[in-house]
Symmetry: C3
Subunit: 216 residues, 3 copies
């Protein structure tokens, strides 16, 4: 099997795992705020598809991912209805903490994949490199931002001092470099996603923090 073939086969699996992890982060956030099933559906959908949808609105691209793949809307609806029955039975806080821990890994995959895809879509429109990287970061990170705004919280990614958007930012430049060096699109995608994901995992394992505030 050629590397490109392996990528073609792995991609849908990575994408599905990452989308589920992003959706689960919405479920956790909504359950923490004790939202009802409607609120859960909205914040879960925002977490899963908000970043890509915002990117597409900014780039004036249609159709959205969830319009092309409407089955995902059913998956999220089912997930949220199931969650309202499963989660209310037992120790909620423990369940949410376990879920949050479990989704860290597929979430790092998603950070990588969605950064790379978003950057490449912007490059395909001949946008300037810094704008393309910004679109990659928006794709990967702004689902979580919209999720937190809908929950009336300061977005986690703005304030937790963890390297998350920063990993996407550096990984996005790999896609730009690949594009400018004339790499095949699949190679640039894989390299960008991999670098982002490795940076994120390294940040998680090392416990590295962004510089904080001392003054006041």
């Amino acid at each position: 099997m050629q590397p490109a073939d392996a990528l073609t086969h792995a991609l849908p699996v990575v994408e599905a795992a990452a989308t589920l992890a992003f959706a689960a982060s919405g479920l956790v956030a909504g359950a923490r705020k004790k939202l009802d099933v409607v609120g859960l559906c909205v914040v879960t959908t925002l977490a899963a598809f908000g970043g890509g949808t915002l990117r597409d609105v900014l780039l004036d691209r249609r159709p959205f991912y969830w319009v092309e793949h409407p089955v995902w809307l059913w998956v999220i609806l089912g997930l949220c209805i199931a969650a309202t029955f499963v989660l209310r039975k037992r120790g909620l806080a423990t369940q949410l903490a376990i879920t949050e821990r479990a989704i860290q890994w597929p979430d790092a995959l998603g950070l990588g994949l969605f950064t790379a895809v978003g950057t490449q879509l912007a490059l395909a429109q001949n946008l300037p490199p810094i704008v393309a990287v910004l679109m990659g970061v928006i794709t990967a990170v702004f689902g979580g931002v919209l999720r937190d705004i809908a929950c009336n919280e300061v977005p986690k990614v703005f304030s937790d001092h963890q390297p998350y958007a920063v990993c996407a930012f550096f990984g996005g430049w790999v896609a730009v470099a690949g594009h400018q060096l004339g790499w095949p699109a699949e190679a640039a995608l894989a390299a960008s996603a991999l670098v982002t994901c490795v940076l994120r995992v390294a940040a998680m394992l090392s416990g590295l923090k962004l510089p904080g505030w001392r003054g006041q």
Copy 2:
């Protein structure tokens, strides 16, 4: 008078009453947060037109309703300026509670009408049924969501456990069914709006609640 004619005559009246009810919900929310006249204007406009505008941005439709009917912007401006003078005089909390009670009924009409219209506009673009229903729900419900986000509150529709978006969801499927059965557009519109509205009124009268959270 033919049924279709009756509908044609009733529609503008229902639409105006519903739009005023949605706008009034913005006024109430803004007054509760003690916003100034600028804040009142914005949250009232968001409550009245935010849902349809968000739908049109997602569907890439122009012109917006308030661009085609700019007189509504004057109506809302007048309403908000009047409110800052009227509401400050007497017992504010009582006035807001009375207003909120009074608008429940035209609000239910609006929930029905805007769900049906939004779903049909999406069906006219040949979008998948679940996406069309989502657009109906967004049209009817997201004005209130944007209103509450602008007021820095958890959106009421996400957290009050009242069947509201859920009624729109079921009513939207009536428009989809009518579309697929080849009904005339007016009949599908009326049926979808009626089912949504009846479900909402039934929920209001019965005091039915969405399942809540027990764990912790």
Copy 3:
């Protein structure tokens, strides 16, 4: 030098000063909320370009200002990274208060300029006058609204009872009047910006407040 030439030369300077003032308001708001460098970058970018970007999404205009002038994204990135190092060293609250005082004047320039530009762009699309004025107000004011929503605060412009959006509203009508009287675009721009700016400075100096709430 002709007046039109003077305007052409002054415009980029005014624009840059105003954009920096808007960006600085984002820095101040983000630092108050103790956001990390990612949060600072986002709220600063929203404060600087959110209003114009929202207007362009609503008017379906592309490219955005920051796509045409990507150097600004680097400026903001540099500003935010510098701020995390400079601001954390000494008395933060004092520094923020000084910055806020200093940017009032270029901010008033920006309020004028962006109102006039936004109104004219909408008039160029033959939109109704009240819609054009609304687009001017959105251009000038909604960067700050998005900044405050991202910071999980009630937007300042909705609740501080200071004449700010109101100045933009009246100034926008000057652009409409100039358009309908057939003035050259530069003259209408300058007149609208000047009126907005003078109104704002007058409001600042006089300490005038919008009517408040008394009831409860």
